[in-house]
Symmetry: C2
Subunit: 434 residues, 2 copies
């Protein structure tokens, strides 16, 4: 690829958006009628509906059910150009973004902007133990989900071949670290796989004898929810057969499993649902960050000192009414739309307005027919909450086609308790030795 700026409708102000997640996509859409040209960059070619990613990791949905090509989602919005690109750094003083060269190219490539929206999201954080990453995959991208799926399915396959009882127990022990929504949802899905989906498939092992442990370092399951819902979630998980341990700080993750305090838990499969940190590209802005690597933004979502640069979603740290905004899809969506409005105002030479997050509620699903829903004053648990979860998630899914596909997959799995997408793909045949 040649060096230099890609020429493109050069008369209008150029808005560059980094990231095609909820924040970036909602910003791009909100700029539809604005007098700007937009370039949206992402490292992946797809927008991911992250709230359903755990269903790919647990073999209930296909990658195509929870992801759509970003350029397909935005195909009719003619003022947006989408580029598959990996951002090397932000040069805020020079008002440009420097890209990692494509392997086909020969020179550094940069993109100048008039306004920049940084919506690059978060990655897993291992509390200073980067070496745990290889052993305990997290759940952020499609490749992460496929890796989790492979590890879980391979553990059952290896157990079927294993004749030594202790080794077999270790292969059939699954440890989940972190009891936020992702950990709770994974635990509920794993116990269903073990107790229902695989029931008839094996001859030497009983999949229903698998142990699913949910370890939480803090005092509560679903700590962000009100106490009554925390208790109900924990009780529901335990009823399903999940071993829940709170105040259980994982101190070691190694080839043999994990250590909680002094206790060893031998487990082939360790899945990470604990910490996240902001995408490291924001460090190149050179502004103060919080402990999770997020930019301490202005109330307008602008970056201090760079009024033309905005941060949205998981890369942004902002307080509202004395509480930090949570790292959820709604904050990113509303933030993206707000930033688009502030850019439109700036073009009209109007001052930016502060961001005000409107909390519509919080939900998490537990197993195959229960959920907890917190709408502030109203709190719901059980089957009704689960129905609300189903309809809201399908409603949110981007693209009509995916909605139909997901609903039919769900209807089928709900009644058959099967999980259709139990495919082991990828290079490595067997999990690491232990």
């Amino acid at each position: 690829m040649g060096s230099g700026i890609i020429p493109y409708m050069s008369a209008l102000p150029h808005v560059v958006i980094l990231g095609g997640g909820f924040g970036g996509l909602f910003a791009a859409r909100a700029l539809k009628r604005a007098p700007v040209r937009v370039t949206l960059l992402d490292r992946h070619n797809y927008h991911l509906f992250q709230p359903l990613l755990y269903q790919v990791a647990t073999a209930a949905l296909s990658p195509g059910d929870v992801a759509s090509p970003i350029r397909w989602v935005l195909r009719r919005q003619r003022n947006v150009k989408v580029l598959l690109a990996d951002v090397h750094r932000i040069d805020a003083a020079g008002k440009r973004v420097v890209l990692n060269a494509a392997a086909t190219g020969d020179a550094e490539e940069a993109l100048s902007y008039d306004y920049l929206i940084v919506a690059t999201g978060a990655a897993h954080a291992y509390f200073g133990h980067a070496e745990w990453a290889a052993r305990a995959p997290g759940l952020k991208t499609l490749d992460d989900a496929l890796e989790m799926r492979r590890q879980v399915l391979l553990a059952f396959e290896a157990a079927e071949r294993e004749t030594d009882e202790a080794r077999r127990r270790r292969l059939l022990t699954f440890v989940l670290v972190g009891a936020g929504p992702t950990g709770v949802e994974l635990a509920g899905a794993l116990i269903e796989i073990a107790r229902q989906s695989l029931r008839q498939d094996f001859r030497s092992i009983k999949p229903e004898s698998a142990r699913i442990l949910l370890l939480e370092g803090g005092p509560h399951v679903l700590g962000a929810f009100p106490q009554a819902l925390r208790d109900k979630a924990r009780a529901a998980l335990e009823r399903l057969g999940v071993e829940v341990r709170t105040n259980a700080v994982v101190t070691v993750v190694d080839a043999d499993g994990v250590k909680v305090g002094d206790e060893r838990i031998a487990a082939q499969t360790v899945l990470w649902a604990a910490g996240v940190a902001a995408s490291p590209v924001v460090t190149s802005l050179g502004v103060p960050l919080d402990r999770a690597g997020r930019v301490l933004s202005e109330p307008t979502l602008a970056v201090p000192g760079y009024p033309d640069v905005y941060v949205v979603g998981d890369v942004c740290a902002l307080q509202q009414d004395g509480r930090w905004l949570p790292g959820v899809a709604q904050v990113a969506m509303q933030g993206g739309a707000h930033v688009a409005r502030n850019i439109t105002r700036a073009i009209r030479r109007e001052p930016p307005t502060p961001f005000r997050y409107r909390d519509y509620g919080n939900m998490a699903v537990i197993g195959r027919a229960a959920a907890v829903v917190d709408l502030g004053r109203i709190q719901i648990a059980g089957f009704l909450a689960w129905l609300m979860w189903v309809f809201l998630h399908v409603f949110w899914l981007i693209g009509f086609r995916n909605r139909v596909a997901v609903m039919s997959e769900w209807a089928w799995s709900y009644f058959t308790m099967q999980r259709r997408i139990r495919l082991i793909t990828g290079e490595r045949l067997w999990p690491k030795a232990g």
Copy 2:
């Protein structure tokens, strides 16, 4: 894993089946009521419906639509045990199969058999140029198909970023080597992607300007079909916009593209649909093989010198009425069922019978609404042939659930001309430099 034999219903004769493709699966099913215990081994956990694999490679279907877990397919057949395992060699004198150790294990593991069915299929063959494999992926496994999909989609993405015109042309040139059914089906799908599916998605390139070249070393497209259908297939491909070249022997595949005789064709993407060779595990039998590495079997499908070992499908070379049996799904299915009958006869101390392949016909699809069908005396081309292709393929698909999923995907893509599963997954972001 411990060493030694896995104990399992040890009173009955033990039939070991290597491979869960059409041959192995049909053999296992045909042994349902036989007084045997069956162990089926495969390197993958899924049975693959290979006739539709090109649709995964071209983003129309999900992996889960064309593959089902083998143990799920056989879950109700209680005399079958399925093991995910990689066969190291066959020890025919010792009547056992030696497995590659699972990474969790510590010792060599072997499985004794009374009867062995080898149905390990074929892999790509690069005519003595093993180094072409990394550059020109073939289409045999789900991972192959996902790799093809990634390379095709990445080429369009890289072209959108490219500013140099010659490089952009090279990125938008796709070479298919081999004009058998797979090559023809891939060519038809690729031209549809370029001309229809991606039409609105790009801003800097015109996807419909992509060149699709179908190179065939022999004199004909679809050489296994009658002349009238070959001509119709070629004409249909050319009408769609595919550049078809016959007697075009590829002599070089390298980073820049391919060479046909002395002519250079610069292409980022080269896909292999030319040669296959039998899976190399049959070499450990120590019996004569043909040029493609297949066992020259007895008419009963037994291996010469080893009456308890049978070969089925692509690892078997057998003549019928003076012609070699073709490497198609029907031969493997019928062969698998026949071998099961011969084993049942052997247990009753009856002599084995010779295999007689019944040819129900041959078909290949060309683009989105045409096909050629050869039923011997009756030959059909065009839309009617395509309808026959659709219904036969859905009818063959193993598992009710997949049929519904595939039909609904097809109906949707047929009317919208979209391809939903346009996801780039896997580690490498960019294709190799050229």
